[in-house]
């Protein structure tokens, strides 16, 4: 399981996270919410190792990974669907998916079928360069790419952004399925409240770099959460 | 000062380092030798080395620094003509002396420069005469090949005039120029083959500069051009350039110089031995510009002794008529036009990277600052004997008071 313990994070001189804590367990979806610029993405960057933390500690599966570079974290089963998609623009769809193999032992180096079942468009466009895809297609590719890594911790930063309604529903279904398998912890950043509410087992709400609410889905009162989401 | 300072102005980096570094070492050796002999006028000589980095304006800057900053008494340096042209105003302004050791295109005379390399009449013209002679193969058709800059252009202009005077028509003369550092010679070598297959005995006169020579000769070898069919005589290819080449396929091609390392004289043997001792590498070769520095330096030493001072005007005056034994035999003498009289040697390339002398002038030839084959220049003379001084006049001029 993942536990983030009182981390501080800075960009240059400005502090983006102040003593943020979070935990995520396998088989559960932990949802992080908050307005624009409160530090959600920064928190995820700290978890996957893209931005160093100034203090605090991150543990994953019982090991301290605070100082590990992000490639090593990926090799320990942490995959991310970043905000802004960040697909490799000049690699084909197929090659984009295959970049996920780096963290896998050689016998597992194939694209799982459910990726194509979920996003048939990727199958049609295997030979097209990632950068040529439409925004929503790129988002689907980014999710597919993360799934190729068979992660034990899946970190999703606004995965529904730019995706058509029917596919959003499917993504919700997949996340639910993955949770149901029980071997994966999922951290989801989502602005779209209904989507989050339907999936989340736990909530963390952030404001101005701090956690202002946290608890299980059952404890959450929609009004309270929404209050933190309006300006 | 308690030492006599000698400035050394040779590029140690950049494109010309390849040629000039050796000259810096040669100068250091000569100075060391002189100091071992007790120095000069009871003082030690001190070398001041700077690196003008193959950058022409930097040459001028360094020259000024040597003369005004380090207060050197004489400067030995430069290789390319443009570097000399760049420092020339500085030497004239500050009235200091430069010894310039490399063969060049002539058409210049300065009271502050002693030209110890060959003028065109000491290299190019004898070489072509040799090619036209029976021993040289009796060539009647000439390809003049050069790097596109002033030295080849001038030399070829002089040669063309000379050849025309010898009855060789313009259609039997091919002039081709290449950029500096040209490395792809395929087309030109093919052209040469074609040019030489018109039924007349043909020879190539090369004024290709520095770096471009190695690929040129490699291409000659590769295309199987034999010296006996199409001899190439070069004016800028010496032992140093050949050191970078496997010369087996080039045996028989020629060069014209005033010095070859292979010449067997006691002076030369001693010089080579000293050089090897100094540079600590038996494989290093000597070459013509080194000899020029050797002559120039020794002449300057003699002149200083004679004048009893390093004062520039006194030394200049003492230089005239100064004689130093050539390494190749005979005696070099400094003339009032600041050029030397030297023997001219034609050598064939050997498979060991040396030249074998196949022809030489019977006596020495006096370097001519102003070529007789250029109309504007033919009427000029140079005579720097005080008080009648002038480097480019039709009659000597009087330098007042």
């Amino acid at each position: 399981m993942l536990s983030v313990d009182h981390i501080d994070l800075f960009y240059g001189a400005s502090q983006a996270l102040r003593g943020v804590s979070l935990s995520a367990e396998k088989g559960l979806v932990t949802c992080v919410m908050g307005r624009n610029g409160v530090g959600k993405t920064s928190l995820l960057r700290a978890i996957v190792g893209q931005q160093p933390v100034a203090s605090g500690r991150i543990d994953w599966e019982g090991h301290d990974i605070t100082a590990l570079p992000s490639a090593e974290r990926a090799r320990r089963g942490i995959a991310v669907v970043p905000q802004g998609r960040e697909i490799f623009p000049l690699l084909t769809v197929d090659e984009n998916l295959r970049t996920g193999f780096a963290a896998l032992p050689s016998r597992e180096r194939h694209v799982p079928d459910y990726v194509f079942a979920l996003f048939p468009v990727l199958k049609d466009m295997l030979g097209r360069r990632g950068g040529d895809l439409s925004g929503g297609q790129q988002q689907q590719l980014a999710i597919g790419r993360a799934l190729v890594m068979r992660p034990r911790l899946l970190v999703l930063d606004e995965p529904t952004e730019g995706i058509q309604p029917s596919v959003i529903k499917q993504i919700g279904q997949v996340i639910a399925d993955l949770r149901a398998r029980g071997d994966m912890a999922i951290v989801l950043v989502e602005q779209y409240f209904e989507f989050a509410r339907d999936l989340a087992d736990r909530f963390t709400v952030m404001d101005r770099g701090e956690v202002v609410m946290a608890g299980s889905a059952a404890d959450m009162v929609e009004q309270d959460v929404r209050r933190h989401l309006t300006v | 000062a308690d030492t006599i300072k000698v400035g050394i102005l040779h590029s140690l980096s950049g494109t010309m380092a390849i040629s000039e570094t050796t000259l810096k070492d040669a100068m250091l050796m000569l100075i060391e030798q002189q100091n071992a002999k007790g120095g000069l006028l009871g003082k030690k000589l001190e070398a001041v080395v700077v690196d003008p980095a193959s950058n022409w304006p930097l040459f001028a800057e360094k020259a000024r620094e040597l003369i005004t900053g380090d207060k050197v008494d004489v400067v030995f340096g430069c290789w390319t003509s443009v570097s000399r042209k760049s420092v020339l105003p500085v030497f004239e302004e500050l009235n200091s002396l430069l010894f310039y050791p490399v063969q060049y295109e002539g058409e210049e005379s300065s009271r502050n420069v002693f030209y110890t390399g060959a003028a065109p009449n000491q290299q190019a013209i004898p070489a072509v005469e040799y090619l036209m002679s029976e021993d040289g193969g009796g060539a009647t058709r000439f390809a003049l090949l050069g790097t596109d800059y002033v030295y080849p252009r001038t030399t070829n202009k002089i040669l063309r005039a000379f050849l025309n005077a010898k009855g060789i028509a313009d259609e039997d003369i091919l002039e081709e120029y290449t950029p500096f550092g040209h490395s792809d010679w395929q087309t030109i070598v093919s052209n040469l083959k074609e040019f030489s297959s018109q039924g007349k005995k043909t020879a190539v006169v090369s004024t290709i500069n520095g770096d471009a020579n190695v690929p040129f000769y490699k291409e000659l070898a590769n295309q199987g051009i034999k010296a006996e069919d199409l001899p190439v005589v070069a004016f800028s290819v010496g032992e140093e350039e050949l050191a970078g080449l496997d010369t087996t396929p080039l045996v028989g091609h020629l060069a014209a110089w005033n010095y070859f390392m292979s010449v067997d004289t006691p002076e030369n043997d001693a010089f080579i031995e000293a050089w090897h001792g100094y540079i600590k590498d038996e494989k290093r070769v000597t070459n013509d510009p080194m000899e020029a520095h050797y002559i120039g330096f020794n002449m300057w030493v003699q002149a200083v002794k004679q004048a009893g001072t390093t004062n520039v005007d006194a030394v200049r005056q003492a230089m005239y008529g100064q004689q130093v034994k050539n390494l190749t035999g005979g005696v070099a003498e400094m003339h009032v036009n600041h050029h030397l009289s030297k023997p001219v040697l034609i050598g064939e390339i050997q498979d060991d990277g040396q030249f074998e002398t196949v022809w030489e002038t019977s006596g020495t030839v006096i370097g001519d600052a102003w070529s007789d084959f250029i109309p504007e220049s033919a009427k000029l003379t140079a005579d720097w004997t005080y008080p009648w001084v002038c480097g480019n006049c039709e009659k000597p001029k009087y330098l007042g008071n």
Partner: protein, 549 residues
């Protein structure tokens, strides 16, 4: 005139000797003539040596062949004490001697005791003719062909009967063809001695050949005012025209070949840059120095061979390849780890840093190896020319370089396209942060990518050492062209690099005969500038959304 007579007499003597003895036998050679001729070689001046050559040729003695060859190659010496002549090769401290009379080893001698017998170009021509005459009756057809060819190069009218005789006895088709040509050449050169009809027949034979030599002969007829026969002149004029047409067609092919070969040199120099610059986006000003390091690595390998295994020198290049790759690659990796990795995302700063590194590397090499050129020789299998058809010669080393450049390019393409490393390399350079998040160890990938690019530059250096200076400045002379090629082809596209290099090479070589080298180069540069206006992202530009962001 007297000279010609003398020569005729001499050769007739030779002829008589050979004819009397019959071919392929030395028994009949004028007894003692060979022994008599040897001491003449030690006389003073070229004239004496010339006489000796004549005498040796006239001896008809097959032992004269190696002696003349040695003389021509500068391997003939005499002992100063007793003027005994030896064939000598340098070995160990002194010379390894061979006795010319017996052809057997004659021990060694100290260098100081021996004097080399000098030749000059005129003598070499003479020797060639003599060798031609002597070799016409060799049992080896190859030798006979060579002999006939050298007679063709220096036709001597006095040898006509000899050639006729050889023709009547020879049944090797190759040798016969060469002999026919030699005979034709002799007839043409014979002046008054051959009839106009003979000459016209000879011209007809020559007109079939496509060689510069034939052309020179025919040109000679037209230039020769002594040639009175109008018929001969006309025939020669027509034949010359035929040859010229063929030659000019071949010249085009040759130009294209030269263009391709120049293109492959450019390609070789640029491929490494296509990785470090094209793929990684590092403006690598030290690329040329990597090429230079490769060339010096070649030099080191060759030196080692020269010292320890001179007989295997031909192997030095194949061994230098991996060595140069490793040396340049290692330096590249060190550079990447030490400096460049701190500069990703700041491509323009890499220009500054790599420029600094290139200065340091140049000076380092200058300090270690000295500023002067180093000798790297070509192995035998890379020297000489291959005659594709008559009159069309391709130089062997260029063919090798073309093949080599293409092999390197395609191997690299395969690595990029089909290996996991290739995929990771491209992923890392496109989005380093995301690649890391995918579990790709970008530091490792970066280092090896840069190492790969540098290593390839290193092996380019091996090839370039074959045609250019091995000096500290070597790299500088290729860096501009390399960038031009990569950019012209389209950054990040190896096909573009290939096509870019080849088109620059070919255009350059097609222009050069008309415009001269300097103007040709200027025109090519202008053409590139104009071309980029049409295709602002290079020949093989990547298009579409993917590149825009």
């Amino acid at each position: 005139m007297i000279q010609i007579c003398q020569r005729a007499i001499r050769l007739l003597l030779l002829l008589a000797a050979i004819l009397a003895a019959g071919p392929f036998s030395a028994n009949g050679a004028r007894a003692g003539a060979f022994e008599d001729a040897l001491p003449v070689l030690t006389g003073k001046g070229f004239a004496a040596v010339g006489e000796a050559v004549d005498a040796l040729a006239a001896s008809g003695d097959p032992r004269a062949i190696p002696v003349l060859e040695a003389l021509s190659d500068g391997d003939l010496y005499y002992r100063e004490s007793d003027k005994a002549v030896f064939l000598a090769r340098k070995g160990g401290e002194g010379y390894l001697l061979t006795d010319p009379g017996t052809g057997e080893a004659a021990g060694t001698g100290a260098r100081g005791d021996f004097q080399k017998i000098k030749t000059n170009n005129r003598l070499r021509v003479k020797i060639r003719t003599a060798l031609g005459a002597l070799g016409l009756f060799s049992p080896d057809p190859q030798v006979r062909i060579a002999a006939a060819r050298s007679l063709f190069m220096d036709p001597d009218p006095a040898l006509l009967p000899l050639v006729d005789d050889a023709l009547s006895k020879d049944d090797d088709p190759g040798a016969r063809e060469a002999l026919d040509l030699a005979r034709a050449a002799i007839l043409i050169k014979a002046g008054e001695a051959s009839t106009p009809a003979d000459k016209v027949a000879a011209i007809r034979i020559l007109s079939q050949s496509t060689s510069q030599g034939a052309r020179a002969l025919l040109g000679g007829i037209l230039l020769d005012d002594g040639e009175g026969s109008e018929e001969v002149r006309q025939a020669a004029g027509k034949a010359l025209q035929q040859i010229e047409t063929r030659l000019s067609r071949l010249a085009f092919v040759e130009n294209v070949f030269q263009g391709i070969s120049l293109g492959s040199v450019l390609l070789l120099a640029a491929i490494g840059l296509a990785i470090t610059f094209g793929v990684m986006g590092v403006i690598n000003m030290a690329h040329g120095e990597m090429v230079m390091l490769g060339a010096y690595a070649t030099y080191l390998v060759q030196e080692t061979f020269r010292l320890h295994a001179p007989e295997a020198l031909g192997w030095s290049l194949p061994i230098a390849l991996p060595f140069a790759f490793l040396v340049a690659g290692a330096v590249g990796i060190a550079m990447e780890r030490g400096v460049i990795r701190f500069l990703y995302g700041r491509p323009l700063e890499t220009l500054l840093a790599t420029w600094g590194i290139s200065l340091v590397l140049q000076q380092l090499v200058r300090t270690i190896f000295g500023p002067t050129n180093r000798e790297v020789s070509s192995p035998d299998w890379m020297s000489g020319t291959i005659e594709v058809t008559s009159g069309l010669l391709f130089t062997t080393n260029r063919l090798w370089i073309i093949a080599f450049a293409l092999i390197v390019l395609f191997a690299l393409m395969a690595v990029l396209r089909y290996t996991a490393f290739g995929l990771q390399m491209r992923a890392v350079t496109q989005n380093r942060r995301m690649a890391n998040a995918m579990g790709i160890r970008s530091g490792w990938v970066d280092a090896f990518t840069f190492g790969l690019g540098s290593g390839i530059a290193g092996i380019a250096g091996v090839a370039l050492s074959q045609i250019d200076n091995v000096s500290p400045n070597l790299g500088q002379s290729y860096i501009i062209d390399s960038f031009l090629v990569v950019v012209f082809g389209g950054v990040g596209n190896l096909w573009g690099t290939l096509v870019g290099a080849m088109s620059l090479g070919i255009v350059n070589k097609l222009l050069e005969p008309y415009s001269g080298a300097v103007l040709g180069k200027i025109l090519v540069l202008i053409a590139v500038i104009m071309f980029i206006q049409k295709r602002p992202k290079g020949l093989f530009a990547l298009k579409g959304r993917a590149v825009e962001n």
